[in-house]
């Protein structure tokens, strides 16, 4: 596993121009943003210049693709790989258990009554 370029205990980097201030970039090389508050379905967020309308709520702490991610590509957060994309992930869409798998052990999560994805 490649080493992160920065000390893990550092502050998040400032959000780049053209990106919604509700999104947090943890490391310069990350391909995901983290929501710093819940963003509601139907809202449009600016992701590095791209306006993206959310199909579902993005809860606090959940991830959004910073750029298009190909199937099989590593998801990079904290400057380190945290899993592999199982499908192509368009810019500005949620990145979670429905399109990412662990490179170590499978993730156990509950589905709600509507079989919706965890956290929705």
């Amino acid at each position: 596993m490649p080493n992160p370029s920065r000390d893990l205990s550092q502050q998040p980097v400032p959000v780049t121009a053209g990106t919604d201030s509700r999104l947090l970039l943890l490391f310069e090389g990350d391909n995901v943003f983290v929501a710093r508050m819940r963003i509601r379905a139907g809202e449009t967020v600016l992701v590095e210049g791209n306006g993206v309308t959310l199909a579902a709520d993005l809860p606090l702490g959940h991830k959004l693709a910073r750029r298009p991610i190909a199937a099989g590509e590593k998801i990079v957060k904290y400057g380190a790989p945290i899993g592999t994309a199982t499908e192509a992930i368009p810019v500005g869409t949620p990145v979670h258990v429905h399109n990412v798998k662990s490179d170590y052990t499978p993730t156990y999560h509950l589905m709600d009554a509507n079989k919706a994805e965890a956290g929705r």
């Binding site: 596993m1 080493n3 992160p4 000390d7 893990l8 205990s9 550092q10 502050q11 998040p12 947090l24 943890l26 983290v34 929501a35 710093r36 508050m37 819940r38 809860p59 606090l60 702490g61 959940h62 991830k63 998801i75 957060k77 904290y78 380190a80 790989p81 945290i82 899993g83 990145v95 979670h96 258990v97 990412v100 798998k101 662990s102 490179d103 170590y104 052990t105 499978p106 993730t107 156990y108 999560h109 509950l110 965890a118 956290g119």
Partner: protein
């Protein structure tokens, strides 16, 4: 029911008066406690009820119940119980035995007595059952409580502290705010000469190489990597990672993502050693606690919940435990105060009564990591100046101990 003794306990809650300097109770081994607790320890589940009934009238008077539920012997559990009963925060011990269990009550009583602490063993079968054991137990506890409340304290320094850290109910905020802030507090304590312990090798999967690079010797680095490889094998055999359903609901997608967040609790200090449950850090510095059993996989999951991990941190001498939560854990612990650091600002607003630190301010841009790290550091120091944590005020005293097996650590685990 003859429970008259229950009303005879000291009316004033024990503990330190508010002081401007750190104070502690000096033990015979030279360690100092920031609490002066009476422990009531059951030696098999069959004695648990009697132990709990003995402690109930004293629930706001620093009388805590711990114990081991199993009837079959286990060296790990016996070591844990010895370390916990002679923890610096413990002033006196009451052992509750049913009578026929395999736990070596004689060895434990001797170990506690040799530490200079008052100790008594009540064997329920020999005493004549539940009611007589409860009465005899409450009389002993009342007597010890009164004696401990009259004991003087001595000055204490941050360098004398041992502090553990754990995270539970983690979510997508934990690794951004609470865990790195706890890491900053750890860095401050290590710089002051305290011993700081981080743990859960199953939640360091994916971080093993960057962690190994922080070891004080290359040999220790290899040992740190091997401990994570052992954890990965162990969890793979069991079919689940150290990952709960609520972690995913909170935005964490994989164990390695959770690990990267959890790892931030360790701060940035060099790693001085690897210890196992019950090993006490020999001096100040940062230590990794290897919680995953050695040898073939047996006895089930390494730690069945957060409190099993907290008990191990305390058995290693932790005076206090920093607990970072995102989803919102409410637990405390027997013996040592648990400081709850809430990483998620929404959770903090919902569960403020249970949280000591609002680290979610970092997410919302209302505070920096250094500021919250300092706040956590100062709060721990205040625990030795008369302050109590939210979970202590709410009388949380969770305790979990199960079966495990470990090989002793080798000399390369503590190189300096």
């Amino acid at each position: 029911m003859s429970m008259a003794i229950a009303t005879e306990v000291a009316p004033v809650p024990p503990g330190l008066a508010q002081t401007s300097t750190m104070r502690g109770w000096l033990r015979r081994d030279g360690r100092k406690g920031i609490r002066n607790t009476v422990v009531v320890a059951y030696l098999v589940e069959c004695a648990h009820h009697v132990a709990r009934e003995i402690a109930i009238p004293f629930r706001e008077h620093d009388v805590h119940v711990i114990g081991f539920p199993g009837c079959y012997p286990n060296p790990y559990a016996e070591t844990m119980m010895q370390r916990l009963c002679t923890h610096p925060n413990v002033g006196a011990v009451l052992l509750i035995s049913l009578g026929c269990e395999s736990f070596n009550k004689y060895a434990l009583e001797r170990f506690v007595r040799d530490s200079g602490r008052p100790v008594k063993t009540i064997v329920i079968q020999a005493t004549g059952g539940t009611r007589k054991s409860m009465e005899e137990g409450r009389a002993f506890v009342a007597e010890q409580r009164a004696a401990l409340d009259a004991e003087p304290t001595v000055p204490m320094d941050p360098s004398e502290l041992v502090i553990g850290t754990v995270c539970g109910g983690s979510d997508g905020t934990s690794g951004i705010s609470g865990n790195p802030a706890a890491g900053r507090a750890f860095d401050m304590f290590v710089a002051e000469g305290a011993a700081c312990i981080f743990e859960e090798t199953g939640e360091l999967i994916g971080c093993e190489h960057i962690m190994a690079a922080r070891a004080v010797t290359p040999e220790l680095g290899e040992i740190l990597e091997a401990s994570v490889a052992k954890a990965a094998r162990y969890y793979a055999t069991l079919g689940y990672g150290s990952f709960a359903a609520g972690n995913a609901e909170g935005g964490l997608t994989t164990i390695e993502e959770k690990s990267m967040g959890a790892y931030a609790k360790s701060g940035a200090s060099p790693i001085s050693g690897l210890i196992k449950p019950g090993d006490i850090p020999p001096h100040g510095g940062l230590y990794l606690l290897d919680v995953v059993p050695d040898g073939e996989v047996r006895f089930g999951f390494p730690n069945i919940n957060d409190n099993a991990e907290i008990a191990e941190l305390i058995a290693c001498g932790s005076h206090a435990v920093l607990f970072v939560t995102g989803r919102g854990s409410v637990v405390g612990s027997a013996i040592s105060p648990v400081v709850k650091i809430c990483a998620n600002p929404e959770t903090y607003r919902r569960m403020e009564d249970d949280m000591d630190v609002d680290a979610g301010r970092i997410i919302e841009g209302r505070a920096g990591l250094d500021e919250v790290g300092r706040e956590i550091h100062d709060l721990v120091v205040d625990l030795a100046r008369g302050k109590r944590t939210k979970s202590e005020e709410l009388a949380h005293q969770e305790f979990v101990l199960g079966y495990k097996s470990f090989e002793p650590i080798g000399p390369a685990c503590l190189p300096v």
